[in-house]
Amino acid sequence: MAQEATLATLIRLLSEHFEIDTADLHPDSTFDELGLDSLAVTELLVVTEQETGARLSVADAPTGTSISLADIAWHIDQRRGNQAPAPTAGADG
């Protein structure tokens, strides 16, 4: 998945799951700016992993709230590049 598509997925998940207005979601938006704490960062990674199959919920996952959406998207793409093709995403609810 190219970074733009990954970013689009993140924006959609933030909008649907966290009920954040898409008008407030930009690549350089940080979690601090969005009013989301470290619990929310973990939640986003869990939800993104469930959606995409990319293994994100592991030891080297980003945790700080000063990171931006673009940072997270980059991290997701790195994870996807470093692993075997993901199993079918979204198998469980």
């Binding site: 966290f18 009920e19 207005d21 929310a40 939640e43 919920s57 469980d92 609810g93």
Partner: protein, 407 residues
């Protein structure tokens, strides 16, 4: 006897009839049951319940909370906000350390448990949501209200199963009396609409299985009743000592004049056959209020619509009240909201006092033989009232009775 009088100065309510006290009072006066088939329960032996309207709840709650809070927390927040506004309190200006939050929560919250269990079963605990614990533990209704409104005094949940909402109000009354806080946001919140809850209570034999007629399923005191109908809701009151309300120049809805909590210590789910615990709680609340039975003008019964409860409760009421005042059963319209029920019914008792009107009990076609009570049916009944008694009886034999009086 209580050292200080407790005034009720604000009310907040969310039920299957809608958001806001007016919506529920209006629906009760219409006598129009809220039970309907629930798609989320499709395929289960009991597939109907009383759900809070989704859009109304979302609009009242606002955005950004549902990802990390179970329904009982969402309902509690909406009710607490309404109560505080209604009491003309301004959280930005109050002394937060003197504001307590006491919320009755009777049922376990299961909203995301099926997904959590699936991840455990697949040995993928790392994709369990980090919200799994904080979104559902019972104290979080009080915790989230405290964050939302800035209440830094004593905060807790109270649990006595179906009596939780009433017990919470009684505990809040005593915390105020003891001077541990000056304002108490108190009541109950619960959502009994999850498939796990429905399956569990069905297996216990507690639920009505009147699938062909959900609206008619909650029929307290009726000869055809066969169990209760699960519901969800939240009711929060603002309580303060009478002199505190006077100093703020707010006119109370009424006084929380008496409270009694007792335990049957008989069986884990069945009430004492002679209603021992219920009798002591009824008499205890009257004594606490300093009122003889003849001074009670109306009884809002627990009346869950189970064969056993309604029969035992009716007998207990007849024993304590030689000539029982008119009775009504709020659960006939709103269903059984578990931990919220006692608080919802306390609010309805106050509305009855304010309007000098008793709402009708729905679905009472044939009162069971042997139940010698005057139950208001068909239409709201105007009634001069100064004191109302509200009773709640829970699994585990936990009983809580409140006496509410006109201001």
């Amino acid at each position: 006897m209580t050292a200080h009088e407790t005034a009720v100065t604000g009310l907040g309510l969310v039920t299957a009839a809608g958001v806001g006290v007016k919506a529920t009072w209006s629906r009760l006066c219409q006598g129009h049951p809220t039970a309907t088939r629930d798609p989320a329960l499709h395929g289960l032996p009991v597939d109907f319940n009383c759900r809070v309207p989704e859009t109304e709840l979302a609009n009242a709650l606002g955005r950004g909370l549902r990802w990390r809070t179970d329904r009982f927390i969402q309902l509690a927040l909406v009710a607490a906000r309404e109560a505080v506004r209604d009491a003309r309190l301004e959280p930005a200006q109050w002394s937060g350390e003197r504001v307590g939050v006491i919320v009755g929560v009777g049922g376990s919250s299961y909203d995301t448990m099926p997904q959590v269990c699936a991840h455990l079963a697949r040995a993928t605990p790392e994709i369990i949501s980090p919200t799994a614990v904080p979104r559902g533990i019972p104290n979080m209704a009080a915790g989230e209200i405290a964050v939302d409104l800035g209440a830094r005094g004593p905060g807790m949940s109270v649990s006595t199963a179906c009596a939780s909402g009433a017990t919470a109000l009684g505990i809040a009354h005593h915390l105020l009396s003891a001077g541990m806080c000056d304002i108490a946001l108190a009541g109950g919140s619960d959502s009994g609409c999850h498939p796990l809850t429905a399956a569990g209570f069905w297996r216990l034999g507690a639920l009505s299985t009147r699938r062909h007629d959900p609206a008619g399923a909650s029929r307290p005191f009726d000869t055809d009743r066969d169990g209760f109908v699960l519901a969800e809701g939240a009711a929060i009151m603002v309580l303060e000592r009478a002199e505190h309300a006077r100093a703020r120049r707010v006119h109370p809805y009424g006084m929380l004049a008496g409270f009694s909590a007792t335990t049957d210590a008989h069986h884990h789910t069945r009430p004492h056959p002679q209603g021992d615990g219920a009798l002591r709680a009824l008499r205890g609340a009257l004594s606490d209020a300093g009122l003889p039975p003849t001074d009670i003008d109306h009884i809002n019964a627990h009346a869950s619509s189970t064969p056993l409860n309604d029969r035992v409760e009716a007998a207990a009421l007849c024993e304590v009240f030689p000539e029982p005042p008119p009775v009504t059963a709020t659960k006939s319209v709103l269903g059984h909201s578990l931990g919220a029920a006692g608080a919802i019914e306390a609010i309805i008792s106050l509305m009855s006092l304010r309007h000098q009107t008793i709402h009708p009990t729905a679905n009472l076609d044939t009162i069971e033989d042997g139940i010698a009570l005057d139950i208001v049916t068909k239409a709201p009944r105007p009634q001069r009232m100064r004191a109302v008694l509200s009773a709640s009886f829970g699994f585990g034999g936990h009983n809580a009775v409140l006496v509410l009086t006109a201001p």
